[in-house]
């Protein structure tokens, strides 16, 4: 691999990330600014406040400043790493996000790996035994899951496993009457299992369908026909000619699915009351906690951007076929 081109690529991506962050902060700020949310009202909440104090708060936050100066202030603060204070949690947004994001990342990473491995295996099996009952089962499963609303599947799981079978607690990130810091790893793990399984099973569909189609494509290619005529068959043939060709595209696709993964996590966390970033985002939106909501939008954008950038990186630098293709161009 050429380190110079890699360096160039990374610099290019970094510049794009900075531009993206600025654009996203401006757009999301504009959207909130145009909305009927009154930041002062949201801060006051239920408290009784005199008109004088409201005017003071308005002056403090610069509610009546012109839009341009509000935006430049906001973007300037972001670039310095200051995202403001959350209204719900009354702590700096960065702290809330870092705590919540860790919980969510565990959930997302677990289901990302499980769905990737399971989806790839199922897809390979379906492609290998094309037209048999295995293929039909996998296909049916994928079609149904692709069409199923995430939160509905989560509700069904909650109903079956928590309410009827009683294997898992019905929601709540921490047991009642305990502080979040006192939770043992085991208690926390029990609460992770159900959301992670739901999210994994939903993520399987896309990757399995993709793998199946790709494998069928590869298996009908000339070099596989040649390999077959040389006497290769069964698992060996799939391993040597099939999986080698479809593994990288499948991994790339998995990285490109970060946006959907995040969306799924928001819904699943909401149903299972898992204390992650998605739940915080919903709470922030419903209770008009503007700084927290904007902070989460920014962080999730960076998260998705990283996934896309890694996919790009694999596509450009790891895949041997693309590398060759590029050198022809130059």
């Amino acid at each position: 691999m050429n380190y110079k081109t890699l360096g160039k690529f990374l610099t290019y991506k970094f510049i794009r990330l900075v531009i993206l962050i600025i654009a996203v902060s401006i757009i999301s700020f504009l959207l909130i600014d145009l909305s009927p949310i009154d930041p002062v009202r949201a801060y006051i909440g239920e408290m009784a406040v005199s008109a004088e104090q409201i005017a003071k708060l308005q002056a403090y936050w610069g509610v009546n400043e012109p839009l341009i100066s509000k935006i430049t202030n906001w973007v300037g603060n972001i670039l310095q790493g200051d995202l403001g204070t959350s209204l719900i949690y009354r702590t700096p947004v960065v702290d809330v996000i870092s705590e919540r994001f860790t919980a969510s990342l565990t959930l997302m990473f677990t289901s990302w790996v499980i769905s990737g491995v399971l989806g790839f295996t199922l897809g390979t099996l379906a492609g290998m035994y094309r037209g048999t009952w295995i293929d039909k089962t996998v296909k049916g499963y994928c079609y149904i899951l692709l069409a199923a609303p995430t939160f509905w599947i989560a509700l069904l799981f909650l109903m079956v496993f928590s309410v009827y079978l009683g294997w898992f607690p019905t929601g709540l990130g921490v047991p009642v009457g305990k502080l979040a810091a006192d939770v043992t790893i085991w208690e926390w793990l029990v609460r992770l299992i159900l959301p992670a399984i739901t999210l994994s099973l939903l993520g399987v569909a896309q990757i399995a369908m993709f793998t199946r189609d790709k494998l069928i494509n590869v298996l009908s290619s000339d070099f596989v026909v040649f390999a077959k005529s040389r006497g290769e068959s069964g698992w060996n043939l799939i391993k040597r000619h099939g999986i080698r060709n479809i593994l990288l595209p499948a991994i790339t696709l998995q990285f490109l699915s970060f946006s959907e993964l995040f969306g799924g996590a928001v819904l699943v966390e909401q149903v299972f009351s898992y204390p992650g970033i998605g739940q915080a985002a919903v709470a922030a939106g419903l209770k008009s906690d503007v700084p927290l909501l904007l902070g989460i939008v920014l962080f999730s954008t960076i998260f998705v951007f990283c996934g896309n950038a890694i996919a790009d990186l694999i596509y450009k630098f790891v895949d041997p076929r693309i590398k060759e293709g590029e050198s022809y161009e130059q």
């Binding site: 069904l156 109903m159 946006s259």
Partner: protein, 283 residues
């Protein structure tokens, strides 16, 4: 031809084209029936009926009744109608944005770069969050969700159209038209639009299921349609409170019906692609 006679008798003996057309028209008819039916469901018929509350599914109440004794089947049907309408508006908005941006990108290099950047920007923010933001911006409600979903689902179609238009622009007849001094608008109207029409129709249909599902999700989270409307998202978020009491039918049937609707749209999309896309005509 002799074989023509038999085709009418058995589904199996129809040729693929007839079969596909039949599937498309039947599914479309069913969906249309649901929408029209939902117009005739008077909200006053979903009245509270306390003696009949929390009843399981029975012949009289197919989907059971909720804690206020309302018939869940009627509510679900009304909700499905709403979902399809929201989905329709949203996918039309998405398609218009995609077509306009796709055609614009063929105008010159800088606009093309900008369109490409815009596509990247919109696919970098998780859709769900962006819909929530837009919905908040517009003050929630049906209007907020429709615009939110419409503004977020155009990226994939725009990408396809952009690539397609690029390819058409390198063809001989476009070059010829350019040499003959035709304007870019003329080329877009006479050469590009007819050729990408197939992609546009299929793209719109394929946006539908995503739009419906995102609408339900956002409504479920509490940012979409107002809680007074019998939308599927509202029904499901209400049902969450009654899960622990064992009222499984409150969540099961409405969600299942939504799933079936989404599957029907997928079915139409896939079959339409088979008919309209000439590249796999031989299959």
């Amino acid at each position: 031809m002799n074989s023509e006679k038999y085709k009418r008798f058995a589904f199996k003996k129809m040729n693929l084209r007839t079969k596909t057309l039949l599937i498309i028209s039947l599914t479309a008819l069913l969906l249309l029936a649901i929408v029209i039916n939902s117009f005739f469901i008077d909200t006053s018929s979903i009245t509270t009926n306390f003696p009949l509350r929390n009843m399981g599914p029975s012949l009289e109440h197919l989907f059971g009744t909720d804690w206020m004794g309302r018939d869940m089947f009627t509510r679900t049907m009304k909700g499905l109608g709403l979902s399809i309408q929201v989905g329709a508006f949203a996918s039309i908005i998405s398609t218009i944005i995609a077509v306009v941006l796709g055609l614009l990108s063929s105008m010159n290099k800088y606009i093309d770069l900008f369109v490409n950047w815009l596509i990247d920007l919109f696919s970098s923010i998780p859709h769900l969050l962006l819909i929530i933001l837009i919905s908040i911006c517009l003050g929630g409600g049906a209007f907020g969700v429709i615009v939110g979903v419409g503004l977020t689902h155009w990226t994939s179609l725009a990408r396809v159209l952009r690539a397609e238009i690029k390819q058409i622009n390198t063809s001989e007849y476009v070059k010829l038209s350019k040499n003959l001094g035709k304007s870019k608008l003329w080329i877009a109207r006479k050469h590009l639009l007819p050729l990408i029409l197939t992609q546009i129709v299929i793209g719109t249909i394929l946006i539908f299921p995503h739009a419906i599902m995102h609408e339900a999700s956002v409504t479920f989270l509490g940012f979409g349609l107002s809680p007074h409307e019998p939308a599927i998202g509202v029904i499901l978020s209400e049902s969450m409170k009654y899960l622990a009491t064992g009222s499984w039918w409150l969540a099961f049937f409405p969600g299942l019906s939504l799933l079936i609707i989404v599957l029907l749209f997928d079915l139409i999309g896939d079959n339409l692609q088979k008919i309209l896309d000439p590249t796999n005509a031989h299959e």
